[in-house]
């Protein structure tokens, strides 16, 4: 069967190009589908995620890619970004696609692993690696890292720097802002919804 040719194929591309945060000239339209991104993508080696084919969908205006579960396997190592010979950035395209999915409310489940980052803002006033990652990281990186991490304020003090975490006052201020703008509610909603499903 002949497939219908999309007349408005560049709509999705345009939306993404205008939302990409890359400071470099955009290469999305210059993609020649060489597949170099996929060949270096660690996620592609262990899942069905394929950055080239994701970009292909975007260029063809195939909005089904927004609902594609595979786009959530990218973990932003930026290797595709640094290697693309056409100056495209598949991982940043991915970020915009995910944002569209989040905005449509179809990606809450995928946000669960990221909630820790939100907690960090709420509880410490700054972004940081969520605490629930620490045990695994300690195992992966080693005791030296943990030692450095736990004594970071001493090191900073020695260098004449302020502590990593802002003052209690500042933390309260940030968290007040986050609460009144609905950030905390949003996080709780996602978390509770997830628990309910369990």
């Amino acid at each position: 069967m002949v497939e219908k040719f999309r007349e408005d194929s560049l709509d999705l591309e345009e939306y993404i190009s205008h939302n990409i945060k890359s400071s470099k000239p955009k290469g999305l339209l210059k993609c020649v589908q060489c597949g170099m991104c996929t060949s270096v993508c660690p996620a592609a080696q262990h899942s069905n995620y394929n950055p080239r084919s994701m970009v292909e969908c975007v260029l063809e205006g195939d909005t089904a890619v927004i609902e594609d579960e595979d786009i959530w396997y990218c973990f932003y190592c930026y290797t595709c970004h640094s290697i693309c010979p056409a100056d495209n950035s598949p991982c940043e395209v991915n970020q915009v696609l995910r944002q569209i999915a989040v905005d449509k409310g179809i990606a809450d489940d995928h946000l669960i692993p990221f909630l820790g980052f939100g907690d960090s803002f709420l509880n410490h006033g700054i972004g940081g690696i969520p605490e629930n990652f620490f045990p695994e990281m300690k195992e992966d990186i080693g005791d030296d890292w943990w030692d450095f991490k736990t004594h970071l304020d001493d090191v900073r003090n020695h260098l004449g720097l302020d502590p990593v975490f802002p003052s209690e006052e500042a933390i309260v201020e940030v968290s007040t802002i986050l609460k009144s703008c609905g950030f905390e509610d949003r996080i709780n909603k996602i978390r509770n919804h997830h628990k309910d499903e369990d």
């Binding site: 290469g27 060489c34 597949g35 996929t38 394929n50 290697i83 010979p85 100056d87």
Partner: protein, 774 residues
């Protein structure tokens, strides 16, 4: 005196008339005797219209409002004959008006139309003060230098020599032959079979050697070049060979006793040679040479030589040459694969380049033509080739262009392997296969030979369990693959050689953004450069194959011949000295940065090719004996007056004075269809130095909102002009004008995007100043 002025407006087949309202232009321009419009003024019919009007209406000043003078000034100077060529002036309505000020849907661009009127008025005013001057014709010396002794240089030299022109063929290495000598087999446009490169090269090489009109200078390098009248004075340094070419009989006894082992660059360092060596057996001169940097001067070779040909006392020789033309055929080098570390070129022995594979497959190569892995000497069971290494690659150190020949090179080497080793599997990983024209047949041949093609650009080469692994997505089947391979061959990009870059600097020839030699118009002047009398051939100009290099070489030889037979026309706007007034104080000789002035036979001699007409000498001459032909200062004043004519309240007019480089750069903005505000009105000046404070102040006082001065930093007057700007700003302030209305900027031909941006920024700045002034 009243002049009869005719204005001819060209539609340029819609290029101009689609954007500019020609009717309105005709109504709005000042009082002239004839206004004509035509679809294509540069056509034969156009020439008839112009000539008839000049004769019938007795016109003595002609404005051609059409394209850039860079494209058609010569044409129209011819068309206005018998009128003096400098009583015709071109208004650049295409590159600097219709192409930079876009068409508003359906209707004409009114602002651009207004600007066109201003530009035509400027030209009319300028012509009213113009005087007839005769172009200077210079005859060139009947000799040429060809720099670079590869296939392009040899072909050019031969063609020139056969036309009776004396040629110096200057080659940096100890032998002529270039890349073609070491390629091994070569592909050909119509044959499926690969031919022996050296067998095709040898007859050419022999002819070059035997031709009495060709003087070959090997181990020689261009050090200095000076343009003088109809000739170039070149200085060539000839390095010593330490072996007397007249005595050496090439017996090779010296090599036997030499104890030094040095990587052999002719074999891409895949084998070793001695410190006394011959690049390849068919080289010319067919004698040995000592690589002095790697020689310990033990003297063993000298003692062994029965011809007494070796002497360590030879020294470098400086050879001055006087030639009429120069052909640059300095060739290319290959992209350094270490700049793409993901392919592991330095990490793994069996990751090699196509050039190295060429040496391995060559019968005169390190393995005598036997295909083997460098790590273990075994015939590879599988070879993976990776295309576009450093080509079509926007990442740092990569090249945006396609290197043009690598698809054919890879297919050629793949076919050679398939013919000799049918059991070796070959996978060619490509982004696009580019085998245009007849080469497509060769591509099909490779397919039928069983060469496997994989559409995908590999991301990395790694080693797993002792095997090379190429990671690639087969983009046609959408499958991610890890291909086990014994050998990986990288098709590296072609880039300009160091020699190409050096020679371009010495000869003052412009380069492209990729550092190749640049032609003034790659479309219709494909072997010329922006220096008259310097031509380009081969890969010094861009990536190309042997056939194209020979084509371009013979074309450039024809161009040299044209110059010799037809001479060079030079713009006459140069300094002249009144010998009655001159007392030979030589102040002008001392001040001239172009070194155009010298003393010859007790008189000041101004070299017409070197003088830029900058006018520096006028200021220092105590006796007012120097003049510049063609009353340029008056013409600048008149042009300003014309541009500012009929300025309406609230309208913004900015005058941009640009030198040759700036003007070409501004043309490029149009050619590339970028835009800048309609307020920018460009005036071309021979030298920015000729724009005087009085011009700037006159313009600002008479309605110009801003003055933009653009000069190429390579111009020897640049520093001087830059220093002068501050002084002029002071003078502007003294006249109660905001000095910020004057700006000075560097201009470059390739950075036209930057110039367009600067125009826009300056326009915004002036708008702000105007706002404040209110």
């Amino acid at each position: 005196m009243d002049h009869k002025v005719g204005v001819f407006i060209c539609h340029c087949g819609g290029n101009i008339s689609d954007v500019l309202d020609i009717e309105k232009i005709k109504e709005s321009i000042g009082d002239v005797d004839v206004i004509e419009e035509y679809e294509n003024l540069c056509s034969i019919n156009g020439s008839k219209i112009i000539r008839d009007k000049i004769i019938n209406e007795n016109l003595d000043r002609v404005v051609i409002a059409a394209c850039s003078p860079e494209s058609h000034e010569k044409t129209f100077q011819e068309y206005v004959k018998p009128l003096n060529p400098y009583l015709m002036d071109m208004v650049n309505l295409r590159e600097q008006c219709s192409w930079v000020h876009s068409q508003t849907s359906d209707s004409f661009n009114q602002k651009a139309t207004d600007k066109a009127v201003n530009l035509i008025n400027a030209s009319i005013e300028k012509l009213k003060v113009s005087e007839a001057v005769d172009p200077i014709l210079i005859q060139t010396t009947e000799s040429a230098a060809v720099i670079g002794g590869g296939i392009a240089g040899m072909s050019a030299a031969l063609s020139l020599a056969k036309q009776g022109i004396h040629v110096y063929l200057i080659e940096e290495t100890p032998s002529i032959g270039g890349h073609m000598a070491k390629i091994g087999k070569v592909f050909s446009p119509v044959k499926i079979a690969e031919e022996c490169g050296l067998c095709l090269l040898n007859p050419v090489l022999n002819e070059v050697v035997w031709n009495d009109n060709i003087e070959i200078l090997t181990s020689s390098k261009l050090i200095k070049a000076e343009r003088r009248a109809g000739s170039f004075n070149l200085l060539v340094e000839k390095k010593p060979r330490y072996v007397d070419t007249d005595k050496c009989i090439s017996c090779g006894d010296c090599v036997e006793v030499c104890s030094q082992e040095i990587p052999n660059d002719w074999n891409d360092n895949l084998s070793y040679r001695k410190a006394i060596y011959k690049s390849f057996s068919q080289c010319y001169p067919d004698t040995y040479v000592i690589d002095i940097d790697n020689c310990d001067q033990c003297g063993d070779c000298k003692r062994t030589c029965r011809m007494n040909a070796i002497s360590f006392r030879q020294e470098s020789e400086m050879i001055p040459l006087e030639v009429g033309s120069v052909i640059v055929s300095t060739g290319h080098k290959l992209f350094n694969p270490d700049l793409r570390p993901e392919y592991g070129y330095s990490r793994y022995d069996d990751v090699i380049t196509q050039s190295e594979l060429g040496r391995i497959l060559g019968v005169n190569g390190p393995t005598k033509g036997k295909l083997q892995c460098l790590s273990n000497g075994k015939v590879p069971k599988r070879v993976v080739m990776i295309q576009c290494v450093g080509s079509r690659d926007i990442k740092p150190d990569g090249h945006k262009y396609c290197s043009k020949v690598c698809c054919m090179v890879a297919l050629k080497n793949a076919n050679i392997i398939k013919h000799k080793y049918p059991d070796t599997d070959i996978v060619l990983c490509y982004t696009d296969i580019r085998t245009p024209g007849m080469f497509e047949k060769y591509f099909k041949h490779a397919q039928s030979d069983g060469v496997r093609l994989m559409r995908g650009r590999p991301g990395e080469v790694v080693k797993k369990d002792g095997n090379l692994i190429v990671r690639v997505e087969d983009t046609l089947t959408r499958k991610f693959k890890e291909i086990k391979s014994d050998m990986v061959v990288l098709s590296t990009a072609i880039e300009p050689s160091e020699g190409t870059k050096e020679v371009a600097k010495i000869l003052n020839v412009s380069q492209t953004e990729d550092a190749f030699i640049k032609e003034p118009s790659p479309k219709i002047k494909p072997v010329m450069t922006d220096v008259r009398g310097v031509f380009v051939a081969g890969t010094a100009q861009n990536p190309k194959d042997i056939t194209d290099s020979i084509l371009q070489a013979t074309a450039s030889a024809s161009k040299v011949s044209e110059l010799i037979n037809d001479g060079i026309d030079i713009e006459p706007f140069i300094a002249t000295v009144d010998n009655e007034l001159c007392d030979l104080c030589e102040e002008c000789v001392k001040i001239c940065k172009y070194k155009a002035a010298s003393v010859k036979d007790e008189e000041i001699y101004i070299d017409p090719m070197t003088c830029s007409g900058c006018g520096k000498c006028i200021a220092v001459c105590p006796n007012n004996a120097v003049q510049i032909n063609g009353n340029i200062e008056d013409k600048i004043s008149a042009t300003i007056k014309g541009i500012l004519k009929g300025k309406k309240p609230g309208e913004r007019r900015i005058i941009a004075f640009l030198d040759d480089v700036g003007y070409t750069s501004a043309d490029n903005i149009g050619v590339n269809r970028l835009t800048y505000p309609e307020s920018i009105h460009i005036i071309k000046v021979i030298s920015v130095n000729r724009v005087l404070p009085k011009h700037i102040i006159y313009a600002l006082e008479n309605g110009a909102d801003g003055i933009f001065i653009g000069e190429y930093p390579g111009d020897v007057m640049y520093d001087e002009v830059e220093n002068k700007i501050d002084k002029i700003k002071g003078e502007i302030s003294d006249n109660n004008i905001d000095p910020e209305r004057l700006t000075f900027s560097k201009v470059y031909i390739p950075y036209f995007t930057g110039l367009a941006r600067k125009f826009t920024e300056f326009d915004n700045r002036i708008a702000e100043i105007d706002e404040l002034a209110k």
